[in-house]
């Protein structure tokens, strides 16, 4: 019974994403898409992937992470780096993008594992602040990283371009500190974004409804009991955390391939970005992947749709955020809602009678 219910729920989630794709395609073909909205399509997919992946850590594993943008940053830079490195070796942009997606996910996943090992011993708000710290460290380090390549191979520096000490003739600077990476082909399309979102959903939903997912959720619900029945806490915590990081890395690669210039600025990868993703997760509902996608897409589109209101749009966004949370979570609001709902239902029944 439950199994079928799960299947239906998952099918609705996939269907919703596919339907969204179809609607956008139709609107595009019939010329109903503004260029503003077109520019928004890849970010919509990216934020949806980020929200679903963070929901794995926050909703399913039950650990508060504020460093998700850091993993996204790692993915973005390693992916863009690869795409630019292989420009001559692999002429096909599509193939390079594909390789970049894999590399970005692997790099972010490995870092998720390395960071997770020490960090996941901490609990609650301490974990939150440490993940935030890691995110900031990653961003700051990439911000001062210089990488170049000449005939002799790769050169690294944390200072400036000249200290790379490259051959003047053949040297090419690939990562230029705060100026980041330029010239990445803008290969990310809406369709690729949707495919990656579907892939993310496939991984996360199948993971949740499997032996591993149950183990992860058991840790969330009661760590001591999980341990007492032989669940390896560290293993499953790390697994959830690094899968979540890898998917964020993949979203980062998508992002990097939608921009001509990629910079590790606070605006792109700062803790505010991590918090933004957390907002999607919490408003969409902890553990609710479909909710994460809807929240991510609505809240990403909202400020853009409010662009007519110009200066007031972020103000409205902030108010919407507060009101929605209070309405969603306040015990009094929940009570009020259920009273209203039962009245409505009662009213409906009377009408039927």
């Amino acid at each position: 019974m439950t199994k079928n219910k799960v299947r239906i729920q998952n099918a609705v989630t996939y269907g919703m994403v596919v339907l969204f794709w179809v609607v956008i395609q139709v609107m595009d073909k019939t010329g109903h898409l503004t260029s503003l909205f077109k520019g928004l399509l890849v970010p919509l997919c990216m934020y949806a992937i980020l929200a679903v992946s963070l929901n794995l850590t926050v909703g399913i594993l039950g650990e508060l992470s504020l460093g998700h943008a850091g993993f996204m940053c790692l993915g973005a830079f390693s992916g863009a780096f690869l795409t630019n490195c292989l420009e001559t070796a692999v002429p096909s942009v599509g193939l390079r993008f594909f390789m970049a997606l894999i590399l970005g996910a692997v790099v972010a996943g490995v870092f998720g594992l390395l960071i997770g090992i020490p960090v996941l011993r901490l609990k609650g708000d301490y974990l939150a602040i440490v993940t935030l710290a890691f995110g900031e460290i990653i961003k700051n380090l990439i911000n001062v990283l210089y990488v170049g390549r000449d005939a002799a191979g790769f050169h690294f520096s944390m200072k400036d371009t000249t200290s790379l000490g490259m051959d003047k003739e053949t040297g090419v600077v690939l990562i230029k500190g705060a100026q980041g990476i330029t010239g990445t082909p803008r290969a990310a399309t809406f369709t690729i974004g949707i495919l990656l979102l579907l892939l993310t959903l496939f991984i996360v939903l199948n993971l949740i409804h499997s032996r591993t997912g149950r183990a992860i959720m058991s840790i969330r619900d009661n760590r001591i009991a999980a341990e007492s029945i032989g669940i390896n806490i560290t293993k499953y915590k790390l697994m959830a955390f690094s899968i979540s990081a890898a998917l964020a890395g993949m979203a980062g690669v998508l992002y990097a391939h939608s921009l001509s210039t990629l910079q590790a600025s606070s605006n792109n990868f700062g803790y505010n970005k991590s918090i933004l993703i957390l907002v999607f997760v919490v408003l969409g509902g902890l553990g609710n992947m479909r909710g994460s996608i809807i929240a991510a897409m609505l809240l990403t589109a909202l400020p853009e749709l409010l662009r007519g209101l110009n200066d007031y749009r972020m103000l409205i966004y902030a108010i919407v955020l507060i009101v929605m949370t209070v309405f969603n979570s306040s015990p009094k609001a929940i009570e009020l809602r259920s009273v209203v709902m039962s009245r409505l239902r009662g009213g409906a029944k009377k009408e039927v009678a």
Binding site: L207, T212, G213, N222, I224, E227, S228, N232
Partner: protein, 295 residues
């Protein structure tokens, strides 16, 4: 069930080997197997604890605790509040590391091992304050208990390979079998936190049994139950012992339950063993009565 039995015998065979290895050290132990329900009096007892102690900042919470629980026995651990009963459970399950003492499970030394290793060795427990996986379904609670016995890799799970469907089916069947023992099969889709209190206690026992233990530790299983529920629980515990041929050590305050089902008792007071032996004798012991009722 057939599969489980073969695994069980496999385990016992291993236990016998282990017992042989340590036989020289503990010749006296064989003599202890005099109680009803003991099948192999020549093998090591299921649980043997010697001189177990732990202190918390100068307070000796458990001091020189000894116990021998033979295979198939229903053994009670009683004592006034704060006597150190739950601490004994926490020591047995590796939540705390003992300062001194040895814990032998089927003759194998498991002292100081980690909680999950001890569970894999064959000790499962329930908790005084129920610890269920609240957001998971009743069925999934038991399936988490089956985690180490029915395996497929994470990748097989994500890719939904045939092994996923096969093992999940096995798990569902086994879990439903366990749930029906506790009359919980109809509630298998409920969220665990939505079960009534008495059923939550039962689910916790079912989950512990899912890990296929040699020894089951029940921490105040009747706490918070009314007399009817307690009577029903007594039946269930007896039934579990018969059906799974389980060895059970339980902490309980309800003397009716203890007197009704336990064959032997150990009484703890201020962390020390006050009395030990057959239930009827222990309950009539003057020191025990004094400890409970005062002078």
């Amino acid at each position: 069930m057939a599969e489980m039995n073969t695994r069980r015998t496999g385990k016992s065979a291993k236990a016998v080997v282990a017992a042989d290895r340590t036989a020289g050290a503990d010749k006296t132990r064989a003599a202890a197997g005099q109680t009803a329900g003991t099948e192999k009096s020549d093998a090591a007892p299921t649980l043997e604890v010697k001189n177990l102690s732990i202190s918390f900042g100068g307070l000796k919470a458990v001091d020189g605790f000894n116990v021998v629980v033979e295979k198939g026995q229903l053994y009670g651990l009683i004592g006034p509040n704060g006597a150190g009963k739950t601490t004994v459970f926490n020591l047995l399950t590796g939540v705390y590391k003992p300062d001194t003492g040895v814990i032998l499970l089927d003759g194998k030394n498991i002292t100081g091992r980690k909680t999950i290793e001890i569970n894999q060795e064959g000790i499962a427990r329930t908790f005084q304050n129920i610890r269920l996986f609240k957001e998971l379904s009743v069925l999934d609670n038991v399936k988490v208990g089956l985690h180490n016995h029915h395996r497929y890799s994470t990748l097989e799970g994500i890719l939904r390979l045939p092994s996923f469907y096969r093992v999940e089916k096995e798990m569902n069947e086994r879990a439903m079998e366990l749930l029906s023992v506790f009359d919980l099969d109809k509630e298998c889709d409920y969220k665990a936190s939505n079960l009534p209190y008495g059923k939550q206690r039962k689910l916790e026992i079912a989950r512990a049994l899912a890990t296929d233990p040699k020894l089951l530790l029940l921490d105040e299983p009747a706490a918070g139950m009314n007399p009817n529920e307690t009577a029903e629980l007594m039946e269930t515990i007896r039934f579990v012992r018969e059906k799974f041929n389980m060895t059970i050590l339980l902490i309980e305050h309800d003397m009716k339950l203890v007197a009704g089902i336990c064959e032997r008792l150990t009484v703890l007071n201020f962390g020390q063993v006050l009395a030990q032996g057959e239930t009827s004798k222990v309950l009539n012991d003057r020191r025990v009565i004094t400890a409970y009722l005062g002078e």
